[in-house]
Symmetry: C2
Subunit: 338 residues, 2 copies
């Protein structure tokens, strides 16, 4: 296949102008159907490939969306955001867009360097996937490009976001535990690291409130540092509660292993639930009861929104919640009330 065929080449062969070729290839009015067909056929035969760069320059659009993921969410054992990115790529296809992944390095986040894709005008908009520091959020706001937060939000930043309904998911999950007879329920997660962990905690707390169960400080267990990165070893409280609501499957996974290592049986001695329904939920015995995050819907909503922002600057969507659903597995045991 020849690669350097232009509209002009096609036009010359047919003795028409390149304007006509452009119209024909873009299915615009102003060309007879017959000529249109001839042009399209010849374009195919000559191996014509559209030059997006030329269109880009003319229109000022790149047809790319930048997907920025902070480095700390991309370790070898973390694939959740990569899967979301993959789903974003798929969604973008329908719009003729492409997703460019940018891993935000720790240093760049600390030193407040915007992604290179911004300075290179490589993208028409940004999706920030995963919580970043407050100063970085402010920096991001200074970019005059459509942008969305995905899977986190910030109360103070006036940026549209798409998040799982963390609050409601954790609320329902805790309700379920209570319905199974549990009264002594701990929460595992650092309340000061991400909005997700905080909101899941509040959902848990709401459920306790509604059932008039006390919130016990010694049953709120931190699992990581404030940056949300390093997982710390969770200290088991004594006496043990009968159930743990973990802020994510990975932490639930670690907790179950720890419980088992200390001689407890799950769920017989102690029930554990997670959140996310990711790979960790099924790679352990017992498999975890958890909240399934609707990755497809999140990607779809984020892309729909950012596309509207590109075509209609100034569109606002606020904070959009995407419902998850409880996945019932084997890590919860019904207990009889004394």
């Amino acid at each position: 296949m020849k690669s350097n065929v232009t509209m002009r080449d096609i036009a010359d062969k047919l003795g028409v102008s390149s304007v006509t070729v452009s119209k024909a290839l873009n299915d615009k009015d102003g060309v007879s159907d017959e000529l249109k067909e001839r042009i399209k056929t010849l374009a195919g035969e000559m191996g014509y490939r559209f030059n997006t760069a030329a269109k880009s320059m003319k229109e000022g659009l790149t047809y790319n969306i930048g997907v920025v993921i902070p480095e700390r969410f991309t370790g070898p054992s973390q694939s959740f955001y990569l899967h979301i990115y993959q789903q974003i790529s798929r969604e973008l296809e329908q719009y003729g867009y492409y997703g460019i992944l940018h891993i935000l390095h720790r240093e760049d986040e600390e030193q407040l360097n915007l992604p290179r894709i911004y300075y290179d005008r490589k993208v028409d908009g940004f999706i920030l996937l995963g919580q970043v520091s407050k100063p970085y959020i402010e920096l991001v706001q200074s970019m005059d490009l459509p942008k969305m937060f995905l899977d986190f939000y910030d109360e103070h930043a006036d940026i549209d976001s798409v998040v799982t309904d963390n609050f409601y998911g954790a609320y329902e999950l805790t309700n379920y535990l209570i319905a199974q007879g549990h009264r002594d329920i701990a929460y595992v997660g650092n309340l000061y690291s991400t909005s997700s962990i905080q909101d899941r905690f509040l959902g848990y707390y709401k459920s306790l409130l509604e059932h008039r169960l006390p919130l016990r400080n010694e049953w709120v267990l931190s699992d990581r540092d404030d940056e949300g990165a390093v997982y710390v070893d969770v200290e088991l409280p004594q006496p043990l509660p009968t159930a743990f609501v973990c802020n994510c499957d990975q932490v639930a996974y670690n907790l179950v292993q720890k419980l088992i290592a200390q001689g407890y049986r799950v769920p017989e001695d102690c029930s554990v639930v997670g959140f996310d329904n990711d790979v960790y939920a099924t790679l352990i015995v017992p498999q975890l009861t958890t909240v399934g995050v609707d990755i497809e819907q999140m990607a779809r909503t984020a892309i729909e929104s950012i596309m509207k922002k590109i075509s209609h600057p100034g569109s606002r969507f606020g904070r959009v919640l995407v419902q998850g659903h409880i996945v019932y597995r084997d890590s919860v045991q019904r207990i009889e009330r004394p």
Copy 2:
């Protein structure tokens, strides 16, 4: 920040020409140091951002590399290739390039549709990450763009590739098992699905040959269909061998679960080794002895090669092998020879 600042705007403010601005911003000769500084400073103040699209059109380069991954390697539980893609993105940074992910849908592979990024001239080269069908390989060859195969190869296709040294890795791993006293060693993998599985098998076989151990057909166990997609249940041979060489960690993981479910202890009754050192290797008790694939080195080599192909069309690299390394964990037991 204003987004529509051009070189011309900067030039006008300074009373110079846009050529001079271009030279200054690109650090080319032909501008006095003093003027260069003034231009750079003003560019910063005015929030100038480079317009890659214009450069692209002028040079005919997109500064993008397409990374094509067949859909069947991207399921929710498969993150290996996504991590490689991520590493590719990082490597590309140094070259001022970006990686565009394209998931190759099943239908497009079957109906022999080239990725949209090709027709849109979105990329200067392709990395095909993960084995595709023979007809698709031929189709890919018809594209007149630099391309590399990553993590697989095809004997008949004359395309450069970067692969883990599967042969040598499996050979060493099998040697290790034999050194631990094992003589009855099975291999798990469909020999007709991918080049990796085949080569790993041959490494296993070479080790057997060298130690004058017979290759027993009933100990070569298929784990998937010929397309490499669907994992089938592995049938355990009776009597059980003392060790299994699995073609990847995921299959080893499944096998260990099956063995345990049937009442065997691993590694006491039976040793199991995997390949890849991915998330499956450590998410099970016992953790798996396996071959660690050097993702960084693979990405680095692939990117170096494709960059050379772009700057020097016609460069050839052949099949480049990247060495892995055995990771010793707890799934192998030394057995005493009778």
